[in-house]
Symmetry: C2
Subunit: 332 residues, 2 copies
């Protein structure tokens, strides 16, 4: 039996076998039924997050849907300053999914979650008929603990603050798009998908003057900046020449008529910090793998309110809005 | 715009609008990004659970996929003795889903979660192309707190214990099957989907001698009994005449060649309790809405080990195994 069958989802013997053969060895499941019961630190608040992953194709240069699902969960927890502790994973498998593909995906999840020290404690598997899914969808929920003294929010953004990004943009979205469309680039496009928890640890150790952090995934950097502008009431002024876009990503964007500002990232974070802490923070970020290319890309202005302004290299400026309409479906 | 479009999933303005128009009013979302940060009782352990819901059709007699997703989550938490506190919900919408259907489903989730006092604090929405999904899939994760003194497990089952069920079996699975196949029955088949947390509260208040509780969903009563037998090493001896199967359910099962023992339930729990506590527990269960038809259906024997035996009305007995192969796909 080398493909998933409908009967793998019926709750009977085949499902039990699928779970015990593949899911139990990959995860740290506390139970095969109902709820996992876990210990938890008695101080601090709890961070909860959920995401569904429907990326197409489910294998792409630099990763797969399994790696993406763990990293996405870890990163959402990390962005509020939480230490990721536990994760759940629900799988919606399409009838006919090659079992070997499932094994690869589970192996990715196991490897990265073990590296991070994140425990996958509860899971669920459903199977849908052919053409009612697309190979595999994964939904995760993550739980972490936020130290009492940490309270990050875009509402804390003030005029004069600096805007910092941890690396180059557009890598994930364009790697998936290229793989999907069968176009190859030289040098190849590779997703930036990676866990950001170590980078965040280094940042929180370096300064307590961080206002907010966020990973610009769907909707890209532009959408996250616009959310910050809306939530703070301030203006985000970004210097175009400080943004890093790899040449292959820029080339692919030009070819497909896309703007890298709106392309999804899965291993980049955007942070806003007090002006006095900015240089030290960039230095601390650059000492980590995920933050090696960190740099200041702009600053917060009081006006125009709720606006993102991109200052171009030749001295002009353009207003950046949220992504409107469809750009890149099923990128995560 | 009366149908979901791919651009509703792209992370841009349309997605923000969908979320703020429909999801924010329905839920108690703490953030529209990253992680929700919540308070938590400092004593007790934490229960975590996840489930994906892919039921077809997503409206069925007695409920819909939204009600099912909240009840399923609450029930999984309740089965380990946890008080349900928080829930996350991830939605995978198929392009073309009628917005009115989505609104109905969210309204169901809001109504039942508010009744229970469960807060839906984080969510996610993805949209997939036509024929890559089936209207709507929902994945939930639930979090609750387990009082220190409660530790339910099939490993605590002992010979002599009594087996109790809270109501009649097969109602959910057959209601969904009938709706899917377009067969009508008189009286109509209605799903039993309901939250079991109040029933569990009443049970835990009545006695501390409960060994284990479980809701026999996919795979039905037979599969749950077999899990208890395997995990305890004991024999579950069940008296066939004590099982309640509504006449319409039995009729539908006969017509479709199904055994109600293997049909999914969504508002029934099975519990195993010390012999001395059994009668009192049944009396306490019967005072609740969900447990009105509770009764003792059998007892635990030492041998044959890891076996479920069904004693028939005429004095014979047959061995009940797990569901083998496919019976009822996409019932939950």
């Amino acid at each position: 039996m080398d493909r998933v069958q409908l009967s793998h989802g019926s709750g009977g013997r085949l499902m039990h076998q699928l779970v015990s053969d593949f899911f139990v060895p990959a995860f740290d499941l506390r139970t095969l039924n109902d709820s996992a019961v876990v210990d938890f630190p008695s101080s601090g608040r709890i961070a909860l997050t959920t995401d569904s992953y429907v990326v197409s194709p489910y294998f792409f240069p630099g990763g797969d849907i399994g790696l993406l699902s763990v990293c996405g969960t870890v990163n959402d927890l990390s962005m509020v300053g939480a230490k990721p502790l536990y994760m759940t994973a629900g799988f919606i498998l399409e009838e006919g999914l090659p079992i070997d593909d499932l094994k690869c995906i589970l192996a990715s999840m196991k490897a990265v979650s073990e590296k991070i020290g994140l425990r996958i404690v509860a899971g669920d598997t459903k199977v849908v008929e052919k053409c009612k899914g697309d190979g595999i969808y994964i939904n995760t929920a993550g739980m972490g603990v936020v130290p009492e003294e940490i309270d990050l929010s875009p509402k804390q953004i003030r005029p004069g603050d600096k805007v910092i990004i941890s690396g180059s943009i557009g890598n994930h979205g364009m790697a998936v798009m290229a793989e999907r469309s069968g176009i190859t680039f030289d040098p190849p496009l590779i997703s930036d998908v990676c866990p950001l928890n170590s980078l965040v640890d280094a940042m929180l150790s370096a300064t307590r003057d961080i206002r907010v952090m966020r990973d610009p995934t769907r909707g890209g950097l532009a959408t996250t900046l616009k959310e910050f502008a809306n939530d703070s009431g301030c203006c985000m002024m970004i210097h175009e020449e400080s943004l890093q876009v790899r040449s292959a990503v820029q080339g692919a964007c030009d070819l497909l008529g896309l703007d890298p500002l709106y392309v999804a990232n899965e291993g980049v974070l955007l942070t806003i910090v007090t002006p006095s802490a900015a240089e030290n923070l960039v230095a601390a970020m650059r000492k980590t793998e995920a933050g090696a290319d960190a740099c200041i890309i702009g600053e917060v202005k009081e006006t125009p309110h709720r606006t993102v302004l991109l200052k171009t290299a030749i001295g002009g400026s353009r207003i950046i809005d949220m992504l409107s309409g469809e750009q890149l479906p099923r990128i995560c």
